[in-house]
C-alpha cells in the first residue's frame, strides 16, 4: 500500500506541473458545493439559490451594495417624509428577460404575492408592516406602512423581494425570469446551471461576462482538484481553510478572504438544565478560548465574535473581548451554580457543514478543562433541522447563521435557542420602530450588551468568505454583506 502511494507521489513530483493557459474568453466556470433546491427566491431562503439567482438573474427595487449600503436599483430613487409612506420612482426602460418593461403594477403584484400566505413565501414577516400599495402611474408606487418600520428599505432589498413578471410565476422554480444581468439558459439537474449575458441589461456596459457556468461539485477535494486541473475558474464556497496557505503560494491563483454575515455560534438550550442558569452559560462562554478555536478549526481564518451583530453591519460593536477566556472564572461560576465538578453534556453537530465538527472538537477539549465533559454527536442535516432547530431537542449545537440582520432571532422565545428575555424583546421591538439612526444605534448597542450579559449562545467567529479563482478574474466582491454572489461586474483582465 505504502509503496503505491510512494510511487504515485514520485510520479506526481516528477511530472512538471502542466497548466493549460486560461482562455480569456469572457466565460466563467464556477464551482458551487450545493445544487439549489429550486431557483425560486420567493419560495426558498437557501443560500445555494441566492448564489445563482440573486443579483444575477433577479433584482429588487433597492440593492445592498458591496459595502453593505442600501442603494437605488430598479427604483432610481425613493422618497419618504414621515418614514411611513415610501414612494419609489422606477427606472425607465428596465426590461424583464421576456422583453416586457417593468412597471409599477409588477411591483405591486410581486409584493402582494409575497404578503399572501397562500404563496408560502419564506419570510412573510418582512412585509407585515405594509398596509397599502398604491400604483400612482407606470413608474411611481407608494407603500403605506401600518407602523414605522426601521428595516423597511432593507427588507425591500432582500432576496425575497426580487422582481419578476406576473407571467413568469409558473416557471420561477426552474427557469426564473427577472431583470438581472444574466438569463438562465440551462439547468442540467445534478450537473450545472448555465447563465448567459442579458444584452438588454439596464446598466450600461454590464455585465462583462458572456456566460457563467455553475458546476455542482460537492466534494471539497474534488473541487480543489478541478481547480488545479483548470477545469473550473473559481471555487466560491467549497475550498476549506486548510488549503488556503498552499493556494496563496501558487502563482496561478488568487485567494479572496473577506467578511461575511455568517456568524458561527454554539447555542445552548436555554430551556434545558443546566443551561437555564445564566451562570452556567457564562461559565461555558468563559471556558472557550475563541482565538484558539479559530486557529484549530479554521486555520486562523475568521474574525472572533463577541455578540450577534456581524462586522459588516453598521451597528457592529466589537465585543469579542467582553467575555474573555478565563478557566478559573468559569470553574468558579460553575461551582456557584451547583456544579463544582462540572457535568456531562451532548453537542450535536451536522457534518454537512465541516466547520461545525471541527469547531466542536476544539470546544469539547477546552470545556473538558473546566470539568464539562462534552460528548459530540454527529447527526445528518435533515435530522439536525427537525430535532435541533425545530424541536430544540439538544443541549449544545454549533451552526453558522448566514442571514444578515438576524438579531430578531433572540427576540423569539420559540426559536431553538429558547432564549426568553422580556427586556431584550422590548429593546428589539423599540429598535424596529426607531428610524433615527443615532437612537437606533444606541438601541443596538444596548441589545448587544444585553446579549453578552445573558450569554444565550456563545458567538464564536465569522465564517470567512473564502474564494479561490484563477489569476486575472476581476470585480468579485471581497466581503459579502448579504448572502449573494454578484457577478455583474466580474470580468477577465484583458
Amino acid at each position: 500500500m505504502r509503496h503505491v502511494v510512494g510511487l504515485l507521489l514520485v510520479v506526481l513530483a516528477a511530472s512538471s506541473v502542466a497548466f493549460p493557459a486560461a482562455a480569456r474568453a469572457q466565460n466563467l466556470v464556477v464551482q458551487v458545493a450545493t445544487e439549489p433546491p429550486g431557483l425560486d427566491l420567493t419560495a426558498t431562503p437557501a443560500s445555494a439559490t441566492a448564489a445563482v439567482v440573486f443579483y444575477n438573474v433577479q433584482e429588487a427595487l433597492v440593492k445592498v451594495d458591496r459595502h453593505g449600503k442600501i442603494v437605488p436599483w430598479l427604483a432610481e430613487r425613493w422618497h419618504t417624509a414621515d418614514n411611513k409612506n415610501y414612494t419609489f420612482f422606477l427606472k425607465r426602460g428596465v426590461r424583464f428577460h421576456n422583453g416586457r418593461e417593468l412597471k409599477a403594477t409588477d411591483v405591486k403584484f410581486v409584493i402582494d404575492r409575497a404578503m399572501n400566505p397562500e404563496t408560502k413565501h419564506p419570510y412573510p414577516g418582512y412585509y407585515e408592516a405594509i398596509g397599502d400599495i398604491i400604483v400612482k402611474d407606470d413608474y411611481t408606487i407608494t407603500f403605506t406602512l401600518k407602523s414605522t418600520t426601521a428595516n423597511f428599505l432593507l427588507n425591500m432589498a432582500r432576496q425575497g423581494s426580487v422582481m419578476y413578471p406576473r407571467e413568469g410565476v409558473e416557471t420561477l422554480k426552474s427557469e426564473p425570469i427577472g431583470t438581472g444581468p444574466y438569463k438562465v439558459a440551462e439547468w442540467v439537474r445534478g450537473d450545472r446551471i448555465v447563465l448567459v449575458k442579458n444584452p438588454e441589461y439596464h446598466v450600461k456596459g454590464l455585465p462583462k461576462l458572456d456566460r457563467v457556468t455553475y458546476r455542482f461539485i460537492p466534494d471539497p477535494n474534488a473541487a480543489l482538484a478541478a481547480l488545479k486541473a483548470g477545469d473550473i475558474d473559481a471555487a466560491m464556497f467549497g475550498i476549506g481553510p486548510e488549503h488556503v496557505p498552499d493556494l496563496q503560494k501558487d502563482g496561478r491563483f488568487q485567494v479572496i478572504i473577506g467578511e461575511t454575515t455568517n456568524d458561527v455560534i454554539m447555542s445552548m438550550n436555554n430551556s434545558r438544565k443546566p443551561y437555564t442558569d445564566v451562570r452556567v452559560r457564562r461559565a461555558i462562554t468563559h471556558g472557550i478560548n475563541k482565538p484558539e478555536v479559530v486557529k484549530g478549526a479554521m486555520f486562523g481564518l475568521g474574525r472572533v465574535l463577541g455578540t450577534n451583530v456581524d462586522p459588516l453591519n453598521p451597528y457592529f460593536v466589537d465585543m469579542s473581548g467582553a467575555m474573555p477566556h478565563d478557566a478559573a472564572k468559569a470553574k468558579k461560576l460553575l461551582a456557584e451554580a451547583g456544579y463544582p465538578n462540572g457535568f456531562e453534556t451532548v453537542l450535536k453537530v451536522a457534518p454537512q457543514y465541516y466547520y461545525t465538527v471541527r469547531t466542536g472538537e476544539v470546544i469539547a477539549d477546552q470545556l473538558g478543562k473546566i470539568g464539562v465533559k462534552v460528548k459530540i454527536e454527529q447527526i445528518e442535516w435533515g435530522q439536525w433541522l427537525s430535532r435541533v432547530w425545530k424541536d430544540a431537542e439538544y443541549d449544545l449545537t454549533i451552526i453558522g447563521h448566514a442571514e444578515a440582520w438576524d438579531i430578531a432571532n433572540y427576540a423569539k422565545p420559540t426559536y431553538y435557542f429558547r432564549y426568553d428575555s422580556a427586556e431584550f424583546q422590548k429593546l428589539f421591538k423599540e429598535s424596529e420602530v426607531t428610524v433615527d439612526d443615532k437612537a437606533r444605534r444606541e438601541l443596538y448597542v444596548r441589545m448587544q450588551k444585553k446579549l453578552v450579559e445573558d450569554a444565550p449562545v456563545v458567538w464564536l467567529y465569522i465564517h470567512p468568505r473564502l474564494a479561490v479563482t484563477k489569476k486575472g478574474l476581476q470585480g468579485l466582491w471581497k466581503d459579502l454583506p448579504l448572502p449573494a454572489f454578484d457577478l455583474s461586474e466580474v470580468a477577465w483582465a484583458k
Partner: protein
C-alpha cells in the same frame, strides 16, 4: 422452465412491493422533514409548516402510500419535491451516465479479475500467485473514493489527460462521454475486481484438484484446453455468483464515486435526495435499483442453467 419464470416474476413483484413499503416507511420514520430542509435554518418555522402542508406531508402515511402506489402502478412515480420534475423523468435523465459507468466498470472488473484469478491459481503458491494476491489485497483495502481522488490527481491535475470530473454528455460524440467516465469506471471496476480475483482463484484451485482435470492432463490435452475448457467452465458457477453480487455493489460504489467525480448520475441523485428528504425521488430510485438487482439475480440464476446443464429449475 415456464413455471419457474412465472414463480420468479411473482417473487419479483412481491419483492418490489416489500421494498417500496419498507422505503416508504423508513424515509418517513427517519427524523427530518423535506419542508424544513427546503426552508433551512434561516427561514421561519411557520413557513416550513405551511410548505409541509402544501406538499401533502401532513396526511396519514397509509393514505400517502396508497396514493403513491396507485401512481407507481400507472407508471407515475410522483414529482420531485426539490426539482419539481417528474421522478421518472429524473431517473431516465440520469441513466445515460450511470448505465455506461456501471457497464464500463463491470467490463473492467471481469476482464481484469478472470485472467488474474486464473493466473494466480495456475501459479499457486509461487511468485505470480503472491503478486496477484497482493494486488488484489490492495484493491480490497483501498476505498473507492480515495482511489478516485488519486486517479484525478495523477491523470487530471498532473498529466492533464482527462477532465477532473463532470460529464461531457453523449451529444458531443462517443469519445468525450467515454473519456469523462473512464477514471470513475477504473476506480469503481478495478477495485471491485479485487474481490472477484480471489473468488476466481479459489474456485479455479478447487476445480484444478479434481480428478477429471488430472485425467485431462494425463490424456495430454493442451494446458489451454485444460484450463479453459475443463477448469474454468466448471469453476464459473461460484464466480458468476460473486460477480452478480459485485454488480449490485457497483450501485453502492457509484453513489460515492459520482460525488467524487461530480457526475450527474443515479447515485448522486439518490444521495442528494436523501439529504434533501426528497421522498418521491428516494422511493423512485430505490425501486429502480432494487428492480435492477432482482433482475441481475434472476439473470445469474438463468446463467447457471447455461453453465451447468445439470441444473434444472422445474
Amino acid at each position: 422452465m415456464r413455471g419457474y419464470i412465472a414463480r420468479r416474476a411473482a417473487a419479483f413483484v412481491v419483492t418490489l412491493l416489500v421494498v417500496s413499503l419498507l422505503v416508504f416507511v423508513v424515509v418517513r420514520v427517519l427524523p427530518g422533514d423535506p419542508a424544513l430542509v427546503i426552508i433551512g435554518p434561516d427561514g421561519s418555522p411557520e413557513a416550513a409548516a405551511r410548505l409541509r402542508e402544501a406538499m401533502g406531508l401532513n396526511r396519514p402515511i397509509p393514505v400517502q402510500y396508497a396514493e403513491w402506489l396507485g401512481g407507481a402502478l400507472r407508471g407515475d412515480l410522483g414529482k420531485s419535491l426539490q426539482y419539481d420534475v417528474p421522478v421518472g423523468r429524473l431517473i431516465v435523465s440520469r441513466l445515460p451516465v450511470t448505465l455506461p459507468l456501471a457497464l464500463m466498470a463491470a467490463t473492467l472488473m471481469v476482464v481484469t479479475a478472470l485472467p488474474l484469478g486464473l493466473f494466480a491459481a495456475r501459479h499457486h503458491r509461487r511468485v505470480g500467485d503472491y503478486l496477484a494476491m497482493v494486488v488484489s489485497q490492495i484493491g480490497i483495502a483501498v476505498p473507492g473514493f480515495w482511489a478516485g481522488l488519486l486517479l484525478i490527481l495523477l491523470f487530471s491535475v498532473h498529466l492533464g489527460w482527462v477532465q477532473s470530473g463532470g460529464f461531457a454528455g453523449w451529444s458531443t460524440g462517443l469519445w468525450p462521454g467515454i473519456r469523462s467516465l473512464l477514471l470513475p469506471a477504473v476506480a469503481l471496476g478495478l477495485f471491485q475486481a479485487a474481490v472477484l480475483v480471489r473468488a476466481t482463484r479459489s474456485s479455479v484451485l478447487d476445480v484444478l484438484r479434481e480428478d477429471y482435470v488430472r485425467t485431462a492432463r494425463a490424456k495430454g490435452v493442451s494446458e489451454l484446453s485444460a484450463l479453459g475448457k475443463h477448469t474454468l467452465r466448471n469453476a464459473l458457477i461460484p464466480i458468476v455468483t460473486v460477480a452478480g453480487l459485485q454488480l449490485g455493489q457497483l450501485a453502492a460504489g457509484a453513489i460515492i464515486l459520482e460525488s467524487v467525480f461530480a457526475l450527474p448520475g443515479l447515485g448522486r441523485l439518490a444521495l442528494g435526495a436523501i439529504t434533501a428528504r426528497d421522498l418521491p425521488v428516494v422511493q423512485g430510485v430505490t425501486l429502480f435499483v432494487a428492480s435492477s438487482i432482482v433482475f441481475i439475480n434472476f439473470a445469474v440464476d438463468l446463467l447457471y442453467v447455461v453453465l451447468d446443464p445439470r441444473i434444472r429449475y422445474d
